[in-house]
Symmetry: C2
Subunit: 199 residues, 2 copies
DNA sequence: GTATAGTGAATGATCATTCAGTCATTGCCA
DNA sequence: TGGCAATGACTGAATGATCATTCACTATAC
């Protein structure tokens, strides 16, 4: 039997780094969800944008759900790294917070599709399982900032809410695409600080 | 020709008020989106939950999109009414804000599916057209609070962002389903006030 | 009798997922 | 070293499910 030849090899450009097809699929999901919502992110559309065949996505991910979770985890992890990269551990908590806030905002502003993907997952029914998975899959360096010393400065509220008042606005601002000058950004970051700390 | 008899009349219960099928469809969409996201809210599922035939939804709404917009508009309108219902126009802006904040929160807490529907639409690609439509379709009494006098008390930021810092947290809190005591709620409402007003 | 609301089966499109089959790589034996 | 079987990435057409929307028809209201 046999017949057609449906496999265009790999092209391995000049023996360099191998292509990361799983990563391409994750990025394609990110951008399609950001642009058109989950509705417009079918597996075939994702595969097409990633430049791979539909079946390839399933080589790397068991299901669409698994792909969504993996993508969410990657975005969260990169966000945590970006948030902490410039933080000086010896600075005051207020300064550390502002550095984190701007770290998050700048990171997402550079590629707003990350922010739009995040807010969409976080307000969908995926949110609960995704959070659960994120908590068990890695240590979030942002949450690690919540120590007895810093908590003493914060309003006596659940951590989710502190996060929602303090850092989530940076994500939503980046997702909105609204462009603001340095002054306004500083105003907002400090507004978040005021919201999360005790009056 | 003819054959089957596929029409179970109306039942008009004891000649009382006529059934509001369009409203039932809107409520069904709300609850299904709140529970399972847009993904789980197919027109047939919506119709089934509303207790009507699939075609009935299309008697009242041109398309699924139109139904989503109409539902969004209804929820927004009711929210505006709830926010303002207890506001005393002669009170200070701080007091008026707190009344609005609690008005929103209580209204949504009573039926959290409204809140969950809202946050889901507001972070989907539906958000932009839905906002546009809401702005042109009715006067939002909440936005009418933004007068020269009140704006003087607020941080010099775009109104969307003021809303995001001040009132949106009430919606998200209701959507989260987190139960808090009166003290914590007052803390959060005042945190929002601090965030939106100048330092 | 005309207009309006309602019905649910039928239609065609689209979706997630599967799979038979192709290619590249690797490890193993001679 | 050269040959080769096994492994796993990759492909895209095929499958069955599900979806939005339509429509021929029926009942009710005016």
């Amino acid at each position: 039997m046999t017949s057609t030849e449906p496999y265009r090899p790999v092209a391995t450009p000049t023996g360099a780094e191998k292509v990361d097809r799983a990563g391409a699929v994750r990025r394609a999901l990110r951008s399609l969800v950001a642009e058109h919502g989950f509705h417009g992110a079918s597996m075939s559309a994702v595969a097409k944008r990633a430049g791979v065949a539909t079946g390839t996505a399933y080589v790397h991910y068991e299901s669409k759900e698994a792909l969504v979770f993996a993508t969410y985890l990657e975005v969260k992890r990169e966000l945590g790294t970006a948030a902490m990269s410039a933080v000086d551990p010896s600075a005051s908590f207020h300064e550390r917070f502002l550095t984190m806030w701007f770290g998050i905002y700048r990171h997402l502003q550079l590629e707003p599709e990350r922010a739009r993907f995040l807010v969409q997952v976080d307000s969908s029914p995926f949110a609960r399982p995704a959070h659960q998975l994120a908590m068990s899959a890695y240590d979030d360096p942002i949450m690690a900032e919540a120590t007895p010393e810093t908590l003493a400065l914060l309003a006596p509220l659940p951590l989710d809410i502190i996060y929602e008042l303090g850092l989530a606005p940076a994500i939503r601002l980046a997702a909105s695409g609204i462009e603001l000058d340095e002054t306004a950004l500083g105003l907002i970051a400090n507004a978040c600080w005021r919201a999360m700390t005790t009056a």
